[in-house]
Amino acid sequence: MSNIITVKDMCLWYGDHKALNNVNIDIPEKSITAFIGPSGCGKSTFLKTLNRMNDLIPGVKITGDIRYEAKDIFGRDVDVNNLRKEIGMVFQKPNPFPMSIYDNVAYGPRTHGITNKVQLDEIVEQALRDAAIWDEVKDRLKKNALGMSGGQQQRLCIARALAVQPKILLMDEPTSALDPISTSRIEELVMELKEKYTIVIVTHNMQQAVRVSDYTAFFLLGELVEFGKTDDIFSQPKDKRTEDYITGRFG
């Protein structure tokens, strides 16, 4: 299996504060990689670097080499909008636009130039089906998305991200605001999605990492302490700090 993202010696500063220190990681294609680690260790920061959402924060400085499909994501010839189209993102708090369900999902494709109604309908339906929410919303596509439950909103956000046909889906604690039933639905969904997409998921829930992910990366104080197959990380961690964290001795 090839690596879709390779990161070498990456550091990141917010102004003077060094938030990530020498991160090296290769993320395999069509798999689920989980990022775990205590609060403030830089998981979100690292995730947002991959689709260059950190560019928007003033004072951020990044060094090192980050490649997506072997191309430097900070290269001169890289179109950042296109990069973000290929590397989609689902946020911690469900954030549908205050528009209809249909318009939410159609927003991305429209932005990228698809205006044909038939084509849009198709994309919207497929995205909603992929996000396992089609049956719940197919009769109310014209209703405002803010009228849905939190779990539905989050799946809508996943559908919205899928509608631009990304290769990678970055998910920052996508279930932390949801009840157990919605959470398990999204976990199932994530596991289905890896057939087609590469998924990186940040989670504070150790069981969730074990349940869904193929690979796990453990971050601590801005450093990537350990990265490997999820089974290995949780059964025989190499680093003492990883062991302490997953056994709940700190963090």
Partner: protein, 325 residues
């Protein structure tokens, strides 16, 4: 927690902490017990309530008083002249031997003038607001916002003065017309006068758009500009609409500046270069020397103006309510 003796000279720091904590709780409880709400406090509370109510009623009372007064004093002339002749009469000649009291020229002038100001002022104000809220650096934003506040604070007579000295001769020269004091001059002055309120309210509405919406759009690969116009602006649309309505209200109610630049002649507003008179200036320019039916007719004009403003206020409330939802 078990009750324990406190021995100050023994090494029991932990217990000491516990003890301290308990003591503090007791002290707080005691403080509450000692201060039950006295009769006097309750009385003061009620008094303050009444005072605030009275103060609130003053405003309401003023509005009611003005409304009633305007209706009572505005109706007789309309009755005497006839509502159709009054509202749709094309000629205003209040001091002629055979006076005519048709206010259609004023109504149309007010509508055209306001509409013109909106057509110029809204796009400029709206774009400025988007720029200030989304694109400008914090430094530029703060400088420009204070400039906008300053613009809002300039008295309208100053706008009129500058318009008279700069705009009116300018129009005369550029368009080669005999007199620059015209509907066009009034429209331009009004457009500038409504800018601050449009910009300020729109910026507030745009600033209030949750960043999550914009992040979501950007993360889908939309450019920042696309994001602002397709996500932020629609999310702020009722606030922006309210800003426009507020601008309309300001424009239609403005008297001083337009009196100085519009020529103040009761013509039908047939062209942009016509000297015209607005509803507001129709009242203010004749009030001083009017009497009898003429004066009553001026009250009727004020009533018409009042109704316009009520209508605009109703619209404003509607948009603001929508935004809350």
């Amino acid at each position: 927690m078990k009750k324990q003796e406190y021995h100050p000279f023994e090494d029991n720091a932990g217990e000491f902490q516990d003890k301290l904590f308990e003591t503090r709780i007791e002290a707080v409880n005691l403080a509450y017990k000692k201060a039950p709400k006295s009769e006097w406090a309750k009385y003061a509370e009620r008094m303050i309530h009444i005072i605030f109510l009275l103060l609130g009623l003053i405003t309401v009372g003023c509005v009611l008083l003005i409304t009633v007064y305007l209706v009572i004093s505005g109706i007789p002339a309309i009755r005497e002249i006839g509502p159709v002749d009054f509202l749709f009469g094309r000629e205003w000649a209040s001091t002629a031997a055979e006076p005519r009291y048709g206010i259609l020229p004023f109504i149309l002038t007010s509508i055209y003038g306001t509409a013109g100001a909106i057509v110029i002022g809204v796009p400029v104000g709206f774009m400025t607001a988007v720029y200030l809220s989304k694109l400008a650096s914090p430094k530029v934003k703060s400088v420009m916002q204070s400039a906008v506040s300053l613009l809002a604070g300039i008295p309208s007579v100053v706008y009129g003065l500058v318009g008279m000295l700069v705009l009116v001769p300018g129009i005369r020269k550029v368009f080669n017309v005999p007199d620059g004091a015209s509907l066009l001059a009034a429209i331009i002055v009004l457009a500038i006068m409504i800018l601050p309120s449009i910009i300020k309210m729109s910026v507030t509405a745009l600033d209030a758009v949750p960043k999550e919406y914009e992040d979501a759009s950007l993360a889908l690969g939309a450019t920042p500009i696309e994001t602002y116009f397709k996500v932020s602006v629609p999310a702020a649309k009722s606030g922006i609409a309210a800003a426009v309505v507020l601008g309309v209200g300001r424009a239609i109610g403005e008297a001083m500046a337009v009196m100085m630049v519009a020529g103040n002649v009761p013509n039908m507003p047939d062209s942009l270069f016509q000297s015209v008179r607005f509803l507001t200036t129709a009242v203010s320019s004749e009030m001083a020397y009017s009497s009898g039916l003429q004066q009553q007719a001026l009250f009727s004009i004020a009533l018409v103006l009042f109704l316009f403003i009520m209508l605009i206020n109703a619209m404003l409330n509607f948009f603001l309510k929508q935004e809350k939802e």
